[in-house]
Symmetry: C2
Subunit: 205 residues, 2 copies
Amino acid sequence: MTASAKTPLDFYFDFSSPYGYLLAEKIDAVAAQHGRSVNWHPILLGVIFQATGSRPPADGESAKAKYVYKDFHRSARHMGVPYNPPSRFPLPTQNAARAFYWLQTQDAALAKQFAQATYRAFFVDDRDISAPDTVLEIAGKQGVDREKLATALQTPEIKACLKDACELALAIGVFGSPHVIIDGEHFFGADRLPQIEHWLQSGGF
Amino acid sequence: MTASAKTPLDFYFDFSSPYGYLLAEKIDAVAAQHGRSVNWHPILLGVIFQATGSRPPADGESAKAKYVYKDFHRSARHMGVPYNPPSRFPLPTQNAARAFYWLQTQDAALAKQFAQATYRAFFVDDRDISAPDTVLEIAGKQGVDREKLATALQTPEIKACLKDACELALAIGVFGSPHVIIDGEHFFGADRLPQIEHWLQSGGF
């Protein structure tokens, strides 16, 4: 295996994305099986969709939207991931994403642990993760100082950090959630997990 | 296995759909492993998209469109299906679809054989399957009487048949290609093949 084949995977996601949650439950273990780590990058799909002119997959009352809502749940069962359709969906996720980026400045492993807990709070426990209090509570359970985090969430620095993450994602061609980049190769959607595994196994195919 | 579990799968596709082609190369064998047959239903994505307000996945010059073009090819390699990106894409497919429906009135197995040959002519041999002559040539190689088929393609009956197929597809919630229905459960996209196999194996999950 070459040196470049050991570079981390980049995992872009929105905390309100069901398929992002499904892949979040799998991507680190799959990468680890091939000696890889994963860098997580929360982004805001609202910003991505506005810039790209795209729409969310489950938009409106169309046959496609109805299918997609059902597919969230069926895909979770297929992948063996617990999933309870949230009663409020989608939600704004800037507080959760900003908390992640602040935690990452402190401790990258803790930031990822927070992200996983936030996803489960939303897609298993039906918590309103748009609320700053919920975000603080989830982080608090990970041992984070709630007051420090509450202050950090209001700083221009952390707001700029999330804005920059979204702009960088757009610049490199991210157009949805989840979106994984492996050695420059892009994979969009939780349903690309078999191709991700195939790619890591073969070093490309 | 109950009687209803032996009902045929319904496979909706457009002859210009790369993911439709990929699934067409697999769906009958997968179904057969579980004692099922497959009814093929060519439709026109233009009609579907106009009615539903959807857009094709590889529309324009966006990052998503570039990704999708690459994903057609990568998905083919992942699935072990030969694929050469057609130089003319997408193409109008009403002649191929009408030929299919006329052949089906003669011989269902022959109609499917023609459909497979047409998909390969487009996605392997880069043939212009929009042209009536190409459609007649492909059918001719399957032993079809070219003159009878040429006449049939112009009849109001066969045009109505394709129109009806599109309207029926819309009425039951088909919104793209490929779209498979198994005992009322919908599966959209070639990437749902693992879920289709899972479903057939378990009788639902």
